[in-house]
Symmetry: C2
Subunit: 213 residues, 2 copies
């Protein structure tokens, strides 16, 4: 276990499975675009599901220039959490049931990107989902960029927790009930073409690289 970057990001519960290594944190962020952004508005917390992507030591997310989530988050304290459910850990006792998982919590104050950076990062968003897809699409229009806000946040204050493997309940080793793990993973299905597609267009080879989890 490396050192926590701040008191706020120091894991206390189950801290034997904590990790603060940027490489570990980056790998979890890259595996799962779905994140949950927590912000405070009128004194109440809100948790909004959104897509994040990473470039270097920053994460980004996007939405409408009129979005309350983006307006309330800009330059304010937020917490962005990414979590992956990898499996159900079945122990001998209910108390020792657990979940195999990978998760990251990032704290910071996001900033709004300039128009120039925005175009770069929206292209990144698309091409990190499907390589080269931005170049195959109908080109983006100036008014579309204008309608869009992208926030960025440095990944400096962050923590990860990771669990894998079998239950930890040797104290009950003799109890005669099946124990083990039921793995869970994200399955990518066969692409469903739009019936309105222009005849002859083909699913891009790179589309098979789309992956989650």
């Amino acid at each position: 276990m490396s050192t926590p970057p701040s008191e706020r990001a120091r894991v206390k519960r189950y801290n034997h499975i904590a990790d603060y290594d940027p490489a570990t944190i980056h790998a979890i962020l890259d595996a799962m675009p779905l994140c949950h952004v927590g912000y405070v508005f009128n004194g109440s917390p809100f948790v909004t599901p959104t897509l994040q992507w990473r470039d270097g030591d920053c994460i980004f997310w996007h939405g409408s220039a009129a979005s309350r989530m983006l307006e309330s988050a800009e330059c304010q304290d937020v917490c962005v959490t990414v979590s992956i459910y990898d499996g159900l850990v079945m122990a001998r006792s209910a108390y020792n049931y657990n979940i195999n998982h990978r998760s990251v919590m990032i704290f910071g104050k996001p900033e709004k990107l300039s128009d120039e950076e925005k175009a770069v990062q929206l292209r990144n968003m698309v091409n990190k989902t499907i390589p080269g897809q931005w170049e195959r699409l109908r080109p983006v229009k100036p008014q579309e960029l204008k309608a869009t806000t992208v926030l960025s946040m440095k990944i400096t204050e962050a923590s990860a927790k990771l669990r894998s493997g079998q239950p930890d309940d040797d104290e009950d080793a003799d109890f005669p009930v099946w124990t083990g793990v039921i793995p869970v993973r994200h399955e990518i299905g066969a692409p469903i073409p739009n019936p309105k597609n222009v005849p002859g267009v083909e699913f891009p080879e790179d589309g098979h690289k789309f992956k989650i989890g």
Copy 2:
């Protein structure tokens, strides 16, 4: 679309895909145990991944009696969000890319369960994961119940958003690029037995009912 239960839970962006019907909200909660609890501590928002389960018109979540998340959430404003990524919607333009999804946001002030209710709901947690499993396990001990806190929250102030199907971009219908949906679902893998299992124990028939998403 039914009527929002409060101003805080009224969907503004993409409100054509909003739904406030309890049956819709319950179905999403029942499909996905992983939730993200947002709470405010020392003025900052925190988003903690946790497992929720539902009984009637309440949701529940559990953890250590010493957990900061549970302590900070009790009787304070929280937002609990459940979201499911059902597919990548590939449009003709990057601007019209979207995600097929089901999500719920619930607002309220959670309450701590009494010892009696706690035992009932922890049994529910286990048996909603795998029917009848609580009865097969090493019985719970009084000190285990004591170490555990369960919070409950009424599902009165809540909203859902749901999207399914093909892209909405008829304005670009002639642009010759493949469009459609790449479906994503949670796959349950084959159970991995613990090498330390008591010889002869068998995976419970009901274990095959475990499902996510």
